[in-house]
Symmetry: C2
Subunit: 332 residues, 2 copies
DNA sequence: GTGTCGTACGAAAACGGTTTCGGCAAGATG
DNA sequence: CATCTTGCCGAAACCGTTTTCGTACGACAC
């Protein structure tokens, strides 16, 4: 299955066979045809590694993630893999499990394997230190932001997503809107709260109490919903920091006898289908468009490999997925 | 950054440098030390590709999955990546998205990249046709079973897992045990039902009605729980086909005024933390040990690469994770 | 018929490694 | 002291491919 075999079968030299297969000019059409046919018959594989290696391109990129187990990495990874696959690239996957030592190890391994570039999928929360200084190939940061503005980072537009949700609630006549979300230590939680606050201010509405920061769980959602209803009995909408919280909120509100969406509208975040679509009632929620984010990262990496590198921060817009938990507009 | 540079700096020949770096025997410790130091100083990368290529090993395996988006692939992938990483292997990831054409394309691509072997992560449901005949490298099937018994398949032991759950319920004094699960078209659903049936028969108990096959959703869980309670008012335990169903069942039972676990115990399946641990009450459930399954697959692939190929079907045992939904043993 | 040119092809070198094999020195044995 | 063994090293061959460069050959102009 080597090039010599093909050359033999086609009755030409290895040099000619190489040129024919690589589409170089100085080969007669008939000869090229014979070589291609021979290669096809022998199922010859151009042996990407040796050829690619020597001439500098492996058509492989390293994808470095920190928490593949979480549900955010996967859609990003899928989007990136898809985009890169269209560019004939393959993806070497490494999960550093949040451990800096493991990450360094993987970076070295991937570099030793001569990857053409990196996509670093991070934790949206922290600005991750730039890896670029040590890396001789292009890097695109996805979901997390690099500390170095010369790098290119693609992140989710949490504030914009929250604005979508809040504007929808306001537009549908909700006036007393509360916010229950995850830990304040999460940038996503703060940004989403900021988006809501901005929309309420623009609409001349007062928020129903301060945002309730807690954790990303149903349990917290249930607990906080009770607190919020007790503090603001006239509440008519709750914007939740994610779908788990929203599911807990919906659960507690039902226990309290509030009808959803008639008395209180609920909006979640993440569009985590298993929670959002199967909730009682199904949740209106913000989809992060993570797959698109991954695809964007992949395409920018391809561009960088072609020499058109970008830098800065790109915010991937989310979109509002409307289900029953917000209902029709309130009569007013 | 080539081997010659290292050899030069260390004052030895390329041959010696090669041997030193590869840990071969015929090199004096002092010489090896000098070479290693020179390599480190020059940041020499052993260039896995070229070296591996020529001597036939790329130290890369292809991981082919059908539905990375689902929640089963990921733990398997993590386990496999971990096991392979310990063997200095890297993982090229491809998601065929359930499309046969895409899968063939990926197989060709990976073969062209000279992967040393494959792990095929399938849908546990169907026996997937063997790929081995077309593939000149070892293949291990994970989660799905290959149609060809000469292949090696690692699958989850659904019947055994169900037995764990059922035996626990029986041991704790439950006597009227019902079963609500997913579509009968799923092998997993049938096997789990069979495991329960076997245990009940051995204990001399009658099942509380036929298994209710439906879908893998909370909605179905809620609906089926109402049916089951209406049909068997004296029911004291429900074994659910997965955690989503179990969460729905718990929800409906609370609405019906049944206490969990006092009146009715619930056991789920999958140990999907987000559902199981955050349920009211937290769910006792069967963990599939998928990460272990992936690790087993990885290790068997490593063994196959060393010439010790196995074949047949290996069933990965699950384990029971005990939370509050089963409570203490009933007084009897 | 002769000279010029362009094209198509192949021999050979290069690439960055590994592996084989022969030689050399030092120590062991007789 | 002679011989043998052993350990260590490097020259050279090798791998599959690309690339350079030389050459054979046909076409065409004169």
């Amino acid at each position: 299955m080597t090039l010599s075999d093909v050359a033999n079968r086609a009755g030409v030299s290895v040099a000619t066979a190489s040129k024919a297969l690589n589409g170089r000019a100085e080969v007669a059409p008939a000869t090229r045809e014979r070589v291609l046919r021979a290669a096809a018959e022998l199922c010859f594989q151009p042996n990407v590694l040796a050829s690619g290696l020597i001439s500098g391109r492996t058509r492989t990129v390293g994808l470095l993630t920190d928490e593949l187990g979480g549900r955010f990495s996967i859609p990003i990874l899928l989007g990136a893999e898809n985009a890169l696959g269209n560019g004939q690239m393959s993806v070497l996957l490494c999960d550093a499990r949040g451990d800096a030592i493991r990450r360094q190890h993987y970076i070295r391994t991937l570099l030793a394997r001569q990857v053409d570039g990196f996509i670093v999928v991070g934790d949206s929360n922290d600005v991750s230190p730039s890896l670029t200084r040590d890396i001789p190939v292009p890097v695109v940061y996805a979901y997390a932001e690099s500390a170095d503005p010369r790098d290119l980072s693609i992140v989710a537009d949490d504030e914009g997503g929250a604005r979508l949700a809040a504007e929808y609630l306001v537009l549908h006549g909700r006036r007393r809107i509360g916010h229950i979300t995850g830990p304040e230590s999460y940038r996503a939680a703060r940004d989403r709260a900021a988006g809501l606050r901005a929309v309420l201010a623009e609409a001349g509405l007062l928020p129903a109490g301060d945002p309730l920061f807690g954790e990303w769980s149903q349990r917290w959602g249930r607990h906080a919903a009770r607190l919020l209803v007790a503090a603001c009995p006239d509440i008519d909408a709750i914007f939740c920091g994610n779908d788990q919280v929203a599911a807990g909120v919906a659960d507690a509100l039902r226990d309290l006898g509030r009808r959803i969406p008639d008395d209180v509208a609920i909006v979640g975040y993440d569009n985590w289908e298993d929670f959002a679509a199967d909730c009682r009632p199904p949740l209106t929620t913000v989809d992060l468009n993570l797959e698109q984010l991954g695809a964007t990262a992949g395409n920018h990496l391809l561009a960088a490999l072609d020499g058109n590198a970008n830098s800065g921060v790109i915010r991937q817009h989310g979109r509002l997925v409307i289900r029953e938990s917000t209902g029709p507009a309130l009569p007013r």
